[in-house]
Amino acid sequence: MKISDVIVIGGGLAGFMAAAVAVDRGQKVSLLTYGSGSLPLASGAIDFFNAKAPDVAIKNLPAHHPYKKIGLKACDAAAKFFCDVTAKADLPYNGRLSAQIPIVTAVGTLKYSCLVPESMNASNLAAKKKIFVVEIKGLKDFYASMIADNLKKYFPDKTFSVAKLDLNLLGGRDITCMDAAQNLTGNEQILADGLKTLDAGNDDAIIIPPILGLDGNTSRAAIKSQLRAEIFETTCLPPSPPGIRLQRAFMNYLQKSGVRIFENSKVIRGVIDGKKITGVVVENAVREKIFRARKIILATGGFYSGGITMRDFDNPQEPIFDIPVFFPTGAENWSNQQLFSDKPQGFSMTGIFTNENLNPIDERGEILFENLHVVGANLGGCDKIFERSAGGIAISSAYKGAIL
């Protein structure tokens, strides 16, 4: 039997963040993960809210919104903590809650986020003279001419140039950005030499797919110093190197900090004592095991990660503790006619409701478990994709859940 101060269930951004904050506060932390979370899918940037000043927008949200339970103070502290951790892991992030930073996407649109990896921060793009969009021979999913064509709509006065570099990437199968990033690690000079042939000057920008390694800033640093022009990475289709870098940075940080990580550990139920959860039962290939702790943080995610499931209509479940799940009833409220809609998707608002301590509550507002804190995409009440708040809610609810 394993005993710790805190058990964090879930190996996504929220779970990592909660474990990092808890261990930083001197707690003995066990992190139970199953699968790889949604970071390999993510852009790598942390969105807080789709508004020019996210902090102001968050303050004005309706009472049932998760951010209202978390509070702006925790959001600010979480952003700061996040930047500290990533900086220590040599994966520097820029930004704050009161403004948005643009990054270039793989389709040539601009995406705005509060916290962005330095390698993607395109704030200076507007000041550049000429923009080179560079694709790599044999690399899938990066279409320089489409990116340039769409980016021109934001910068009609700039000169665009599309180029293609051969990094000898062709192999027996399709090459994704992740393969290229892996390939380039320790082998950066070939890219640096290729980019030098563009002859891009001090006032120019070079846009490339996110292939600058999978570990922190090392590959980027090796190339940056050799080029006069500033270099920007875009987002990409999964698997996404910027998301994987973040995942690796946190894993390293947690391991170094003494968090005990139990991978491939599927939590199947809790050990309940009235309004307390005294432990969780983990199922692995061989047998069931009980982990005990004073406090539990639930960060198993929403529909995407299986933290919330729904086999039959109008019957969503939280599969571990059977916490009541709130959802919009009826087919007409479940989804919008348009996939990319001008209003939130009902199904995506499904999740657990909590009090201000992030303890789960039922429809009468009664606390279900006093020592369980629900964080990240488990939280219901808003469409985090529509609002572009998924990352912000993940790290700030995790922060709050961990300090309580």
């Binding site: 969105d47 789709n50 049932h64 062709l170 009541p324 959802f327 919009p328 348009q338 469409d383």
Partner: protein, 557 residues
């Protein structure tokens, strides 16, 4: 003015069958379709090549036509037909007396229905309900790919000089003294209106035949009858599995490659454009379906879709399920308009026969005595094993057969050459359906590809497990490069339109693992790609007005 002998209106199986038949008999013909090809019931159906068993009691003429055409289709459209066979199963809740009628009906119609023991039935179809199934028969049903058959019909027609214009809508008829002179049309993309001169026009617009008739001032008894279907992500059945009872909703399962289609419902609708589906329809289909297969709900649903059968209603005739599945040909000379015909009703299985009868009448008018050859000549030449084996060096061997039958001999050759010479073109645009970049590029250049959805229907990109998650971006980018200038450059619109097309069929089945897939789509395109621009939809704090309830009712207080 553009001139032809016959204008065929409608790019469904019937219209395409007529185009092929006329072209083979040496009659100059041009087909116009207001949308993409097979946009109506010819693709929006379960893809069942009927043995006729389903009509053996109610309509033996239709049953006999089915079994004959079934044999012909297997011969001429070898690569479109999956000869999986069919099974009829009677459940404990079904009328036993009907079984006797059905066995006799099959015998009378020339359909071989072989009784099998329950043990055999469960061996052949292990998921059948042990609790409910009481008897089973094997029949020569098969699965047929409506898309593939249609592209092959076009290739065959073109070989004989047949012409084709998609996204070209008929807006009127030019007549002089009760005689047809031409058909007025509009290009859906450019808005350009013009006339195509002709001696004869055939209204083969299926569910839309009534609207086309109105343009000519003639009344046509056609009732669009909506059928809803569900596509599952797995092959649940090995055979086409039918319920042995009076034909009803949700009682046919058809295996297609790696998926299964369950259908259909039957509902009269005023507008054939209505291909909407609802959660209620899905629920009702599942409920009936799980009588035959109890674990049906454990399978992931890919999507749902609907199409409108063009049921022919003779004056005072029945509607819905009781309406005949037969077809009718009307010569509108009887209405005072010489040169216009309408063909309506029928079903995919008998499209060739319908086309033959229609073309016999047209040819009689034109004094053309060339006999029909559509039952004897295969639609297309098959790609040789040698070419296929050669292709296997360059792309996944599982995909080779599929690509060969999709593309046909000439295009396949070009694609394989491209794969050989340019290794980059070997990358898979669609991993689910094994579609290479070279194939997508080839089809982007086709004269019927105006939007990415057109490329989808020809290549199957976006039709598999991930429903466009990964290939939407890739296809829009390749199309922007290779497609027609007027529509391709707007890559973001094409990408969103493509995903929206997938969304339409996902919405009513948004549960289970489909929810997971959808959140992935949204996360990629809304968050990583920011396809919904930041400026136009800044989420105001009041945007989340919908407060969820728990299953026991009410939002928290």
């Amino acid at each position: 003015m553009e001139k032809t002998t016959v204008v065929v209106i409608g790019g469904g199986a019937t219209g395409l069958g007529i185009l092929r038949d006329l072209s083979m008999r040496g009659v100059k013909a041009l087909l116009v379709e207001k949308n993409d090809l097979v946009n109506g019931a010819s693709s929006r159906y379960h893809g069942l090549l009927h043995s006729g068993g389903r009509y053996a009691v109610k309509d033996q003429e239709a049953a006999r036509e089915c079994i004959i055409e079934n044999q012909i289709m297997r011969k001429i459209g070898k690569s479109c037909v999956e000869p999986c066979g069919g099974m009829f199963t009677r459940l404990d809740i079904d009328d036993e007396a009907y079984e006797e009628l059905w066995v006799k009906g099959c015998a009378d119609s020339g359909i071989e229905a072989t009784p099998i023991t329950l043990d055999e039935a469960f061996k052949l179809e292990p998921r059948l309900s042990r609790k409910h199934v009481k008897s089973a028969y094997l029949v020569p049903d098969a699965a047929v790919d409506g898309f593939r058959m249609s592209w092959q019909l076009i290739d065959s027609s073109k070989r004989y000089g047949g012409q084709l214009k998609t996204y070209t809508e008929v807006i009127g008829f030019d007549t002089v003294n009760g005689e047809l002179r031409g058909v007025k049309v509009r290009n859906q993309f450019t808005g350009e209106e013009y006339e195509i001169g002709c001696d004869i026009a055939v209204n083969a617009a299926g569910g839309w035949a009534g609207f086309v008739g109105k343009l000519a001032g003639v009344e046509i008894g056609v009732q669009p009858d909506k059928g809803t279907l569900i596509a599952f992500n797995q092959r649940i059945v090995n055979h086409v599995v039918n319920r042995l009872h009076k034909s009803s909703d949700g009682d046919i399962f058809v295996p297609h490659g790696s998926i299964t289609i369950l259908g259909t419902s039957s509902m009269s609708v005023p507008d054939p454009e209505d291909t909407s589906t609802s959660r209620a329809e899905v629920e009702s289909l599942l409920k009936i379906g799980e009588e035959t297969f109890e674990d049906l709900r454990d399978f992931r649903i890919l999507r749902t879709f609907a199409g409108s059968r063009p049921l022919y209603i003779p004056p005072g005739g029945a509607v819905g399920r009781s309406a005949s599945r037969g077809f009718a040909i009307v010569d509108h000379e009887q209405d005072g308009l010489k040169g216009l015909f309408t063909i309506v009703g029928g079903k995919f299985t008998t499209y060739r026969l319908m086309a033959e009868k229609m073309c016999n009448q047209i040819c009689a008018k034109l004094n053309n005595t060339t006999p029909c050859r559509t039952a004897d000549e295969p639609l297309v030449e098959e790609v040789s094993d040698e070419d296929k084996n050669h292709a296997k060096k360059f792309f996944p061997s599982y995909g080779v057969n599929l690509a060969a039958t999709r593309l046909g001999v000439d295009r396949f050759k070009r694609v394989v050459e491209r794969l050989e010479s340019d290794p980059e073109s070997r990358e898979l645009v669609c991993e689910c359906e094994n579609v290479t970049r070279a194939e997508v590029e080839e089809i982007c250049k086709d004269d019927t590809s105006f939007i990415v959805n057109d490329v989808r229907r020809r290549t199957r990109i976006g039709m598999g497990t991930c429903q466009g998650n990964f290939c939407a971006l890739r296809a829009a980018a390749v199309f922007a490069d290779m497609g027609v200038e007027s529509t391709a450059k707007d890559s973001l619109t094409r990408m969103k339109e493509f995903l929206q097309g997938r969304w339409k069929g996902i919405r009513p089945v948004l549960l289970g693992r489909t929810l997971r897939e959808t959140e992935m789509t949204r996360s990629i395109y809304e968050l990583s790609m920011a396809v919904r621009s930041y400026n136009d939809t800044e989420s105001t704090p009041n945007s989340s007005l919908l407060i969820p309830n728990s299953k026991t009712g009410g939002a928290p207080q």
